[in-house]
């Protein structure tokens, strides 16, 4: 720590930190553009100029750029100095030479950093009187709108896209005042992190194209803290609503999880909430042959009451995409012994095993932030870009950690981005990727290893053995894999904080064991290694923590035990089980009750269907891949008869007259019951204040204090302003009245911040007012708590279930699952933009196998697996290991098949009735 003087006032600050970071962290407003808290300084825009003085006698001083000036003992600067103030205003005047005066029609207006900075510098009058420069815009695909005329050339976009997100198809072009940021030609941006350009851009060059289709000003959006439902990482989000429609999703900073960024699947995956396929009314059918009819909710409930009353037994099938509370409510309704996991049988086993590993192994699970800051990484099995994209982002940053030693040796500060990158050049820290086929992270990898799932597991076991000889060794490992395992082991041993990333996507338990062994082996030699497991869905861990039975057990009970009714919670079972098994299951159950938000094949099987709320219309808790329980809140009250699932389930319980404590009527009561029954879930109660929480006696408003049109938005129905909806479940209100945060003086707890806003800071850059320090934790602690805490550091036994070497089979290929960022996940296909980017069905085969099977480029294949036959176009891919084939799973046209599995692959017989050649 050193003492510096800002406008004569002493401050204790970190030595070497740049002055802009320091000023913002100290709450001193200083305008900036090219600097970004996650991307450091480049000194290009010259906006953050301050006056630096030699000593206390120096009255002249000289202008320096705060972002490029490190703090040293005794440093004296002035932010208020008239010359600095004048210069900062002149920078804005310059930027405004060409910036169009289109704020009133610009999507960024009202949350524009350039607007904020213009006001901050006091620039009001322009001297420049010529035509503005104009550019041609590009079509960048379904997510990003491009409006280059607004560009102020801060270079943040290209720095993020290429330097941080690893994209290649976007760059800066031309020079002088016609510098252009875009692609060589029009086209969809390839990076899965392109949506961050919207937030990285300080003005309206890159704006959210999906938002544009139903645009609303930021101050007219009703927002609430939320959590992404599109993968298991649980990135924090801020969804915004207007007129009963979810309008967009923005990043919500969480130091431990997603930091400043989101992936495109999470950012743009919200549109299913507005889908035409939403179930909005209760539906029932009198018998299995009858058509569905929409009914009043009470009638649906009455029907359920009749069904469940006469039934001997009711089983419940939970959901890995429903909240912990809804799953628990179902578990309570049907009884723990009749509560089954709605995950696939394999996922159920794998996640249960993952929980065991996390509980038994004396290692901390890594948070995303810890992955990002680890200096060596081994990925076993996961194609993170497609399965858990933000983990790919984190790994991409992690390779920059170890080479930081090079720039640090040269006394280059880590925040000095250009210089640090120049010193490091293309040197990267260790990152080993063992996957089925190539991934979009390969360009960062020290080495890649493409093999069958069991060979990936065997490599992992070998690495563990190389680190610690007490770890079991795979037999008959080929020499290449052995050499690679030695190399990986050495790099992990040499690291300060190595991380092993693995997960469930290859559906191979031994990969989890291998990853666990590597972490254990590293821990046994004193390395603080961490384990990061990606899981199938947003609440996979939360579901399995409730200890449900497996789907197969549910089927068996249905077959054998005379089950009368099944309640299926937010789950399309056709995505999770063999269709033949499901048909038999539905046939054997006299009454099927489904709660869901989107129409799907399972909903079509329902005898009674209840409209369930989506994440945006619910309160709930999701448990992410590192067991971090995170609360999301209702963004808006659903219309029609839609209700949160736990509310429906409670209503069913009430209708049945179940013995229940009165407290169960509320969300808080439900959580209290849950913690009472499953005490290890206690953190769920602590992650956010209970509904009775008030600040200065007031609730926290979901609507900004500038929310407009409240009195008129219902005028087409009635001129009388209706009472706003009440929210008995949380300390948030559906109103603009209430506690007005004035960060950093007073603000709600981090879990209850509906949006980041501070006076003078209307853009997302206002975050600095909510953080303890720029890019540090949120004041008062980041939201979310881990449920599984690291046990006592004692050595658990190594796993020794090492699979046999992979042996190819004559006439068959091992079909392994591949994933597509858009398409493999259930909800993404209900978003038009993401659906548009879904890849076509295909079977990827190694060229040598193709040759052996006499398959050529254009062939359609018949694939027989698990008593099903599919027709899939052939795609020859050199990175698929011989003897295996890759199949993109989860695509809507594909029936579920449990993978990996051996399949027979033959060319589709040529249709005999071909057209005559004439």
């Amino acid at each position: 720590m050193v003492t510096i003087y800002i406008d004569g006032k002493p401050y204790q600050v970190d030595a070497g930190q740049n002055l802009l970071h320091i000023c913002l962290s100290m709450g001193i407003n200083l305008p900036y553009f090219c600097w970004h808290p996650a991307m450091g300084s480049v000194g290009a825009c010259r906006q953050c100029a301050v006056k630096q003085f030699r000593d206390e006698n120096d009255t002249r001083g000289r202008l320096v750029m705060a972002c490029m000036t490190p703090a040293v003992e005794g440093l004296r600067i002035s932010v208020q100095d008239p010359q600095a103030v004048e210069f900062r205003a002149s920078i804005i005047e310059w930027l405004m030479e060409n910036h169009p005066h289109d704020c009133p029609v610009c999507d960024e207006g009202g949350e524009c950093h350039l607007q904020d900075m213009t006001v901050m510098t006091g620039h009001t009058y322009r001297h420049y009187r010529w035509k503005k420069r104009t550019f041609r815009n590009q079509n960048l695909g379904p997510f990003i709108n491009h409006e280059m005329n607004r560009c102020i050339q801060c270079y943040r976009c290209v720095r993020f896209y290429r330097g941080f997100a690893g994209g290649r198809d976007f760059d800066a072009f031309s020079n002088h005042n016609t510098v252009y940021f875009g692609r060589k030609t029009d086209g969809v941006l390839e990076s899965e992190f392109s949506g961050n350009l919207v937030e990285v851009c300080p003005t309206g060059v890159f704006t959210d194209k999906t938002f544009r289709k139903h645009y609303t000003r930021k101050w007219d959006l009703q927002t609430a803290p939320s959590v992404c439902v599109n993968c298991s990482l649980g990135c924090n989000t801020t969804p915004g609503e207007r007129y009963g429609q979810l309008r967009r999703i923005r990043n919500r900073y969480n130091f431990n999880v997603n930091g400043y960024f989101l992936c495109d699947r999470g950012r743009y995956g919200y549109e299913f909430v507005n889908s035409d396929r939403r179930i909005r009314q209760a539906r029932l059918r009198r018998n299995r042959e009858a058509a569905f009819e929409s009914v009043a909710p009470d009638e649906g409930l009455q029907r359920i009451k009749e069904i469940v009353k006469k039934s001997g037994r009711t089983i419940g099938i939970g959901s890995p995409r429903a909240s912990l509370e809804s799953n628990f409510a179902l578990r309570t309704l049907v009884g723990p012994e009749h509560f089954f996991s709605g995950a696939t049988v394999k996922d159920h086993e794998l996640v249960t095993e993952a929980i065991k590993i996390l509980r038994d192994i004396p290692s901390s699970m890594a948070s995303l932030h810890e992955v990002e800051t680890s200096d060596a990484a081994l990925v076993l099995g996961e194609d993170v870009n497609n399965v858990a994209p933000m983990a790919a982002y984190a790994l991409r940053q992690s390779v920059r950690c170890k080479p930081q030693a090079i720039s640090q040796k040269l006394k280059i500060s880590d925040w000095d981005d250009t210089a640090a990158r120049e010193a490091v050049q293309d040197q990267k820290g260790p990152l080993y990727l063992a996957t089925i086929a190539d991934t979009r992270l390969d360009d960062m990898a020290t080495r890649t290893f493409h093999a069958s799932p069991q060979e990936i597991a065997r490599l992992g076991f070998a690495v563990a053995h190389q680190i610690s000889p007490t770890a079991p060794q795979p037999e008959n490992l080929d020499s290449a894999a052995l050499e690679l395992s030695k190399m990986i082991a050495q790099d992990l041993k040499d690291a300060e904080s190595p991380v092993v990333v693995s997960g469930c996507s290859l559906e191979e338990k031994s990969i989890l064991y291998a990853a666990a062994n590597v972490v254990q082996a590293l821990r046994s030699i004193g390395k603080p290694a961490r384990l990061f497991l990606t899981l199938p869905e947003s609440n996979s861990l939360g579901l399995e923590l409730l200890e449900p039975g497996s789907l197969n057990q549910a089927f068996a009970i249905a077959r054998e035990d005379n089950v009368e009714a099944a309640i299926i919670l937010e789950n399309d079972l056709y995505r999770r089980s063999n269709p033949a098994l499901l048909e038999a299951f539905f046939k054997s159950i006299p009454s099927v009750i489904v709660l869901d938000s989107l129409d799907n094949p399972t909903a079509q099987k329902a005898d009674v269907l209840l409209p369930a709320a989506t994440f945006a219309e619910s309160d709930g808790t999701l448990v992410n891949n590192e067991s971090r329980a995170q609360r999301y809140f209702q963004v808006f009250v659903p219309q029609d008869d839609i209700k949160e699932s736990w509310v429906w389930l409670r209503a069913i319980g009430d209708a049945l007259g179940q013995e229940e404590p009165g407290a169960r009527k509320t969300f808080d009561g439900l959580i209290a019951d849950m913690v009472k029954e499953l005490p290890f879930l206690a953190p769920v109660q602590e992650i956010s204040p209970a509904s009775g929480f008030r600040i200065a006696g007031a609730k926290i408003p979901r609507q900004p204090h500038r929310y407009s049109g409240r009195t008129s938005m219902h005028a087409n129905v009635s001129v009388h302003e209706p009472q706003p909806p009440q929210d008995p479940d949380s300390p948030l209100s559906f109103s603009m009245e209430g506690f007005l945060a004035e960060p950093p003086i007073e603000q709600p707890p981090a879990s209850l911040i509906p949006e980041f806003w501070a006076p003078g800071w209307n853009s997302i850059q206002s975050l600095n007012k909510f953080q303890e320090e720029v890019s540090g934790p949120l004041i008062g602690g980041d939201p979310g708590k881990r449920i599984i805490l690291p046990p006592d550091p004692e050595q658990a036994a190594y796993f020794d279930e090492i699979p046999e070497p992979f042996a190819s089979r004559a006439g068959e290929l091992l079909l392994a699952p591949l994933y597509a960022i858009y398409g493999s996940e259930e909800l993404s296909i209900h978003t038009p933009g993401e659906a548009q980017l879904t890849p076509p069905l295909r079977l990827e085969i190694n060229p040598r196998d193709a040759q052996q099977f006499n398959l050529t480029g254009e062939t359609v294949l018949q694939v027989s697996v698990d008593s099903q036959v599919f027709e899939l176009p052939l795609h020859i891919s050199a990175s698929i290991p011989e003897g295996t084939a890759g199949m993109i799973c989860g695509l809507p046209e594909m029936p579920y098949v449990a993978l990996p599995a051996w399949g027979k692959v033959t060319p589709k017989p040529v249709n005999s009735s071909t057209e005559n050649p004439g």
Partner: protein, 419 residues
């Protein structure tokens, strides 16, 4: 005979033939140092000679070399052949007619800092020159003057040429490095300096073509000999590029410290039509205007004396302006040049030069309002001292000094609107 030290081809025909170059003592210095001197001895000799960088800044060459850390390897030497300053054409003549002396100088510099790979970075328009240099490099390799284990020692050296895309800013050494690494030519912030973090992140010396061309004679004849030429603080010969309103424009090699008068009236044959001289730009478009008073004409052209009369000597591209030249017109020309050549990285230069170009357009066209001259001056004040690199800083020199010294020229154009 043997009047020239740098432009020796003017004495010796066909000096761009390797055999003729060698017959006239070529590569003796390089052979001598590689086989007989330590790198440190070479560095000391060059330091003792007082050779200063000819690219514009005039920084002592030997001192620049000594900044390279000896615990970071490899080292690189880059010859800056991005001669882009308007009014500068000296490097071109050397590269065209006396290429081996330059390449020998580059080889000597490489040996002095123990670089095994060195580059010649040429502006894109120098395409034919690069082809010529490539042929020279091939000839040197064939003659055993480049390659592994030179002259039986353990020292190895390879040279490469690299063409830029013709951006002025790439003459700035950090932008040059960016361009050489295959990126857009944008300057880097210093520190770190290229001597520590340079090409590919490694310690790098960047020397001007003319600077390097000085090395063979220095190493051959010694520092003491070299110091007999020029002045105490600015020793050695210099090629002055004379252009503008003179009768005989061209390159003139003279000792540093020769007066403007001698250059203009003796070598340059005086002003066109024998009109009165108005001002001098000693450093091309980047220089401030110096009113051509008698005292100025008698000023010796060395780094210190020229700076004292109002502008750096720079690369000694002396542009002569006579009384027919309107300074508002000149300001307009330079403003357009810099607004076109701005790389677009920092705001003051990118937007400021553009604004200057517009303002000077209007003034030069006689459509300006009275306050526009003041506004132009304000804009230059806001640019001055606040840009990322020297290009932005230089962009205002002619405009600002033009307004300050020849205000009448500007006001005359601006006032017309009011009448």
């Amino acid at each position: 005979m043997n009047k020239y030290i740098l432009l020796r081809h003017r004495d010796i025909p066909n000096l761009k033939d390797l055999q003729i170059y060698q017959e006239n003592g070529g590569f003796a210095a390089f052979r001598k140092i590689v086989t007989g001197l330590t790198p440190d001895q070479v560095m000391q000799e060059v330091k003792a000679s007082g050779l200063r960088g000819r690219g514009g800044a005039g920084f002592p060459t030997g001192v620049k070399w000594s900044f390279l850390p000896t615990n970071l390897w490899p080292h690189y030497v880059v010859a800056n052949a991005d001669e882009s300053e308007p009014g500068t054409f000296k490097d071109r003549e050397i590269l065209e007619e006396n290429p081996y002396q330059f390449l020998e100088g580059l080889a000597i510099a490489s040996y002095a800092v123990q670089a095994n790979t060195s580059y010649v970075y040429l502006r894109g328009e120098f395409d034919p020159l690069a082809a010529g240099l490539d042929r020279c490099i091939a000839a040197m390799e064939a003659a055993g003057l480049l390659g592994d284990n030179l002259f039986g020692t353990s020292y190895s050296l390879r040279l490469h040429t690299h063409l830029g895309a013709g951006a002025y800013v790439c003459g700035e050494e950090t932008a040059l490095l960016e361009s050489l690494e295959g990126r857009r030519g944008l300057p880097r912030l210093r520190p770190p300096f290229p001597a520590v973090v340079g090409l590919y992140g490694k310690p790098t010396v960047i020397n001007n073509v003319e600077t390097l061309t000085n090395l063979p004679p220095i190493l051959e004849n010694g520092a003491t000999w070299y110091r007999t030429i020029g002045t105490e603080k600015s020793p050695g010969p210099k090629v002055f590029c004379l252009s503008g309103r003179v009768k005989q424009p061209g390159n003139y090699e003279m000792p540093l410290g020769t007066t403007f008068r001698k250059l203009i009236y003796e070598y340059g044959g005086g002003i066109l039509d024998d009109r009165p001289i108005k001002a001098i730009m000693p450093a091309g478009a980047s220089s401030a205007l110096i009113p051509a008073t008698e005292a100025v004409l008698d000023t010796p052209m060395d780094y210190e004396a020229v700076a004292q009369v109002g502008s750096p000597l720079g690369s000694a591209s002396v542009i002569i302006l006579d009384d027919t030249v309107r300074m508002d017109w000149l300001a307009n020309k330079t403003a357009h040049f810099f607004s076109h050549e701005s790389c677009g990285k920092c705001t003051p230069c990118r937007e400021g030069t553009y604004w200057m170009a517009h303002l000077t357009d209007r003034i030069a066209a006689g459509k300006a309002e009275a306050q526009d001259v003041e506004l132009l001056h304000d804009v230059t004040s806001q640019i001055q001292g606040k840009c990322f690199c020297a290009l932005g800083e230089f962009s205002i020199m002619a405009v600002r000094s033009g307004i300050e010294l020849f205000r009448a020229d500007f006001d005359a154009r601006a006032k017309r609107v009011e009448s």
